[in-house]
């Protein structure tokens, strides 16, 4: 094929695909500024005639969106911090500390990845009901405090730490905990950032488990709140689009700011999974 034609074709296809990928998101943003009923017209309007913030006001003043937003921030941050701490410790132990049965235990963990999380959800609900954590923030947070994926990611990365460094510290008389805090943690910083973004996004977007464990509106996270609003206000497209913006924008911005770390983690997690 003629190289100029090929170049036009390839870039044309990329532009077309990008429009398909971004159109729903841009349209969501635009409709969220339309007055009630503004989007129900033919031809469907692309931009609001008179931009208004009334949908956002309605959401935050009457529909409890500020509560959902705070809940989401709280739950996702807690999951991120706790799972980061636990996964780092475990991943480091699997990579650098010698103990009997290390390889077999790690293989077992990786093997457990074939079990879909939903299998555990019914008994987990009963267990949390028994210990009184149903319909609480802790009910959402507690099962997410450690992940096999996170442990795997940290282990892959931590294997690159030279043993001599740790041995030298041991000879100098440093305890294992001090070695971890003062030598290992600083070296693991890049993977910490990656894992933190991954955990935060996953927790923010999680749907099925919070839907099950949160039975009252006061603890709803954004996806659950939005799904419940969508059932009540099926006809109010402008209001729902504003709700979608509030739900999507924080994670989208976080991704844009940190995408290098996110994409690196995605690739690191997928090699030989």
């Amino acid at each position: 094929m003629n190289p100029r034609l090929a170049k036009a074709l390839i870039n044309g296809l990329l532009i077309g695909a990008t429009m398909v990928a971004l159109f729903p998101l841009l349209w969501m943003l635009s409709v969220s500024f339309m007055p009630p009923g503004g989007a129900s017209a033919l031809p469907p309007p692309l931009l609001p005639k008179h931009a208004t913030m009334s949908n956002y006001r309605e959401l935050f003043v009457h529909a409890g969106m500020s509560r959902y937003l705070l809940n989401s921030l709280l739950v996702s941050s807690a999951i991120t911090v706790l799972s980061l701490a636990f996964n780092l410790m475990a991943g480091y132990a699997f990579a650098k500390l010698r103990f009997a049965g290390r390889e077999r235990l790690f293989q077992a963990l990786i093997g457990a990845l074939v079990i879909p999380a939903q299998v555990a959800m019914l008994p987990l609900f009963l267990l949390l009901k028994y210990i009184g954590l149903v319909n609480s923030y802790a009910g959402v947070i507690v099962p997410g405090m450690a992940t096999v994926f996170g442990i795997f990611l940290v282990r892959q990365y931590a294997r690159g730490i030279p043993d001599e460094l740790l041995e030298a510290a041991r000879i100098d008389g440093a305890g294992e905990w001090r070695i971890f805090m003062q030598i290992v943690m600083p070296l693991l910083k890049p993977i910490m950032v990656t894992l933190a973004i991954f955990s935060f996004l996953a927790a923010w977007n999680d749907f099925m488990w919070p839907l099950i464990v949160l039975t009252g509106q006061e603890h709803y996270t954004l996806p659950i709140g939005l799904a419940s609003l969508a059932r009540e206000h099926a006809q109010d497209s402008e209001l729902m689009m504003a709700g979608a913006v509030v739900t999507v924008l924080p994670v989208l911005l976080l991704f844009l700011a940190m995408q290098r770390y996110y994409l690196e983690g995605l690739l690191l997690g997928s090699v030989k999974g």
Partner: protein
């Protein structure tokens, strides 16, 4: 401190969490699926009875289970090839030396992946609205009659599949892109000197070199797609006429709407068994597909 003990202390928090909140519940689910745990047992545990495989047997005789499985298999069988095709196509475009502004295109195409399913499903509900949606407006411009996308039992699942492809293709695109970049350029150089066309280069270099990546991505995508739940929950509530009720949707309804936790656990285990069998089958088939001599015909 003894290094063995230190190691176990470092592992303890994560293993405790995974053990108590994952492993234990999985085992309990197996036990639960052999009981008639329901609303009465929830109120008073003494109403619980062991029923052996009766839940499984009853499920296999329920038309709703088979239709839910059918819808899920439909979603996987159509959705996975479409998703992977879109991912591979986008990755090939991005990998082309002729493509411009690659970082921008890559980020834009990846953006749907990081969005919240619930929020984007809400957007699609309006884009595919029969009367005011863009989809029907665009089709109308081409002279095609409006389709009741989410209200017609024949179209509801295809609409959900389109949504899933849009939402997910960017993820595998990144993995394919890395796979493509790992293929040595001199292979293509040699093929070009031999006068191989772009198609033949794809068929005999790109495709075989990408083989292991394709298999891994295929298995992960199939497992992910078997877990269809949030999309129908938000877009169709399992309807119309239960045409988008997936296996997990059935499990959710059975467990948390009707509180038949025994039967719902059996649904979960059946799904697990099916997913496991499909994974093993894919691994077996891929092994048979490999030519022992490795030379393309």
């Amino acid at each position: 401190m003894n290094p063995q003990r230190a190691a176990w202390l470092f592992l303890a928090p994560a293993l405790l969490v995974l053990g108590v909140f994952f492993l234990l519940p999985v085992i309990a689910a197996l036990v639960l699926s052999l009981t008639d745990y329901d609303l009465y047992a929830l109120a008073n545990i003494h109403n619980l009875r062991f029923v052996a495989l009766q839940n499984y047997w009853a499920l296999l005789q329920r038309p709703l289970f088979w239709s839910a499985l059918g819808h899920t298999v439909y979603f996987v069988a159509v959705g996975v090839p479409l998703s992977m095709g879109a991912s591979l196509g986008a990755a090939l475009l991005l990998n082309s030396p002729l493509a411009k502004c690659k970082p921008f295109f890559r980020t834009a195409l990846f953006a749907p992946v990081v969005t919240t399913v619930v929020a984007t499903a809400v957007i699609w509900r309006y884009l595919f609205n029969t009367k005011y949606g863009w989809m029907n407006y665009a089709l109308n411009a081409l002279g095609i009659h409006p389709v009741d996308w989410l209200g017609d039992p024949h179209w509801a699942m295809p609409t959900i599949i389109l949504f899933a492809v849009w939402k997910n293709f960017g993820y595998n695109m990144i993995i394919f892109l890395a796979g493509l970049q790992a293929i040595p350029l001199d292979l293509y150089e040699a093929a070009r000197i031999d006068g191989a066309s772009s198609w033949r280069q794809f068929r005999h270099i790109t495709w075989p070199m990408l083989g292991p990546t394709l298999l891994m991505v295929g298995i992960l995508t199939v497992s992910g797609y078997f877990q269809l739940f949030a999309e129908p929950y938000v877009m169709t509530e399992g309807g119309p006429l239960q045409s988008t009720t997936s296996v997990l949707y059935l499990m959710y309804d059975e467990g948390f709407k009707w509180w038949n936790l025994g039967s719902a656990s059996a649904v979960a285990f059946l799904l697990f068994i099916i997913m496991f069998a499909v994974t093993v089958l894919m691994l077996k088939l891929s092994r048979r597909g490999e030519h022992p001599d490795g030379a393309p015909a």
